[in-house]
């Protein structure tokens, strides 16, 4: 160490205090070379015996508390940071999974669901935004003509392969109709047959609820504004088949 110390100003001897180490002196040549006060461990911590006894006391306390005091209520344990007024419970944090479940945060992305209209029909208008944006190519939509005159299309087939899904939530972001959501709070279930992991329109509608959002894509009868008649449109549709 080539630093030379000046011994001025190390009168304040209280160490700690939160503002970094106590500076005892600064080098003449280089202001960033300083002599600081080193905080050594307390004697009781350096002698192994006392520290060991202290540690044993802590573990005995935890063990006794967890052994003799009753378990906290499952709900209080499963909610992170839930207030527990009752101090006479133990400190066990284990959530016994299949019986108890942690409440997920609201933004948790779980299994998909298809939202419903007021009459219970599927809200999706088969605009193909979600299969387009999906990075995993796990959404399959086959559109068909809707029998609702205000709406042009609806999905005949809407399948999501949950094994391919990367749970990114882009489909929900892309949907203009609030037709697909991932707010079920359920995990993709473990399956033995990969085909079982494919969610169908029916299974996703079974989880669906009615959306309070205004239905997009709904308007006056589009067939009246077409150049041809509704029968003309039907004829075209038949010709496709």
């Amino acid at each position: 160490m080539s630093a030379t110390h000046d011994d001025h100003g190390h009168a304040h001897g209280d160490h700690g205090g939160g503002g970094g180490p106590v500076v005892l002196g600064t080098s003449d040549r280089h202001p960033r070379v300083r002599t600081i006060q080193v905080v050594r461990p307390q004697d009781e911590d350096t002698t192994f015996l006392v520290a060991a006894a202290k540690g044993l006391g802590i573990t005995i306390k935890h063990f006794a508390r967890n052994l003799f005091l009753p378990l906290r209520k499952a709900a209080a344990r499963s909610k992170a940071g839930a207030p527990t007024d009752d101090t006479w419970h133990n400190e066990i944090e284990t959530v016994q999974y299949p019986e108890e479940k942690v409440t997920y945060p609201e933004r948790f992305r779980g299994l998909h669901r298809l939202m419903l209209r007021d009459d219970g029909a599927v809200r999706c208008v088969a605009c193909m935004c979600c299969p387009t944006v999906c990075p995993a190519h796990c959404i399959t939509i086959i559109p068909e003509e809707s029998d609702n005159n205000g709406i042009e299309k609806r999905p005949a087939v809407f399948e999501i392969d949950e094994l391919r899904c990367v749970v990114c939530g882009l489909c929900v972001e892309a949907c203009p109709c609030d037709a697909i959501r991932m707010d079920t709070g359920e995990h993709a279930r473990p399956v033995e047959d990969p085909l079982v992991a494919i969610e169908t329109k029916e299974s996703m509608m079974a989880r669906g609820i009615r959306s309070i959002a205004r239905q997009g894509g709904e308007g006056p009868n589009w067939r009246e504004h077409e150049p041809g008649s509704p029968s003309d449109a039907k004829h075209r549709n038949d010709a496709d088949h």
Binding site: A52, L56, H62
Partner: protein, 399 residues
């Protein structure tokens, strides 16, 4: 009938009883208790799921599941191991620990003809050859004057198990573990032997059965406080010396079990240890030997420092304090004393688990420092101190 008693008094029968009734159940339960207790110490629940149908018992059945798993697991033997020694090592680790139990007095002497009667201690002291006291069954397998020395000798052999396992495995890490095992044994055996010498000075015997008898039913005469019959300063100094003795012995004994904080031979973070090549029930035998050693250490400390099978204030004919007698038949007394021994052993085993899950492990050099530079000098100084106390006490009482 006396043939039955003679068979019951046969050493192998008593050994079977001890192993089947105390050692094996306790050691198996400890495998569960270790995980469960450590979990509770760390605010977790631990294993509580194993069940047979609806019977769950807080997960105690986990040890059954573990045993079944280890028995039916593939017994893999690597290509280059020394097959004979590889097979011998687990036996060498397990057998000596079971043999060492021979010296432990795990219960009082049973007089079969007196089971329903109230025993007369005066008659027992003056006329032990009376027909009422015939066919006595002594609850100690092997009663010899050098009892505790026998224990040191036999448990040293248990360390060969680890060393030979390391040598036979043809694996660098296993060999390192084996070497560490033997070096640790050598370092701590010295301190352990010396740390028990004050007991010899206090009681004048190393025979565990005689030690328990000498400690008697009064807790202030037990090993920890064995100088309390002397006046004032001697009693205090003696108690301090004995508690220090107990601490020294306990430390050295934990080091002998090769468990954390002294798990250098195993060294999980560095070398996995001498049983790295073992699998299935062969590994299970090392594992079981470790837990049986815990039970054994607890038994020795119970016997030497905590009055063995003695129940506080319980004499051979019932509870007895000054001016108060509550007579009990011999059978009940024996039962209580068995239970007392079991309870003390269980509590001390739990304390060992507590130590293992509280203290961080030592490095190899720290371990050697503790053994040679701290425990050994302190053990020697302790012998001198206790000898001095004994000298003063003898001078005071004129014996």
């Amino acid at each position: 009938m006396s043939l039955v008693y003679a068979i019951l008094d046969f050493a192998a029968v008593k050994w079977l009883f001890l192993v089947l009734a105390l050692v094996m159940p306790l050691a198996s339960l400890l495998t569960w208790a270790e995980r469960r207790q450590s979990a509770m110490m760390q605010d977790r629940l631990g294993p509580n799921r194993a069940n047979i149908g609806p019977i769950k018992l807080k997960g105690i059945l986990h040890f059954v599941a573990d045993a079944l798993k280890m028995i039916f697991k593939e017994d893999f033997i690597p290509a280059n191991v020394h097959k004979g020694l590889f097979a011998l090592a687990p036996v060498l680790a397990l057998a000596p620990v079971l043999i060492a139990f021979a010296i432990i007095p795990f219960g009082p002497t049973i007089f079969p003809h007196q089971i329903r009667e109230f025993l007369d201690p005066v008659q027992l002291a003056t006329d032990p050859g009376a027909p009422a006291f015939a066919d006595a069954i002594r609850m100690q397998i092997f009663s010899i004057d050098f009892g505790l020395i026998f224990y040191f000798a036999v448990l040293t052999v248990a360390n060969y198990g680890g060393t030979i396992a390391g040598w036979a495995s043809y694996n660098k890490w296993a060999l390192l573990g084996g070497l560490r095992s033997s070096s640790q044994m050598m370092s701590y055996e010295v301190a352990m032997g010396l740390s028990l010498m004050p007991i010899f000075l206090a009681f004048g015997t190393l025979e565990p059965g005689a030690l328990v008898a000498a400690q008697g039913a009064l807790p202030w005469n037990w090993g920890l406080l064995s100088w309390s019959q002397f006046p004032g300063a001697i009693a205090v100094l003696g108690a301090a010396a004995m508690i220090f003795t107990c601490l020294l012995f306990f430390t050295a004994a934990i080091a002998e079990t090769k468990r954390a904080p002294f798990d250098i031979p195993e060294g999980e973070p560095e070398i996995i240890g001498y049983f790295v090549e073992y699998s299935g029930i062969r590994w299970g035998m090392f594992f079981l030997a470790e837990f049986i050693e815990i039970v054994f250490i607890s038994s020795v400390i119970t016997t030497v420092f905590f009055g063995g099978w003695q129940v506080p204030f319980l004499d051979a004919d019932g509870f007895r304090t000054s001016g108060f007698v509550f007579p009990l038949p011999h059978g009940i007394v024996v039962l209580l004393q068995f239970l007392a021994f079991g309870a003390k052993v269980v509590l001390l085993s739990m304390f060992q688990l507590l130590v293992r899950w509280t203290l961080p492990r030592f490095r190899v050099d720290q371990l050697m420092n503790l053994g040679w530079k701290i425990l050994l000098p302190f053990a020697l100084a302790n012998i001198m101190a206790v000898a001095l106390i004994k000298l003063i006490a003898m001078a005071l009482t004129g014996t």
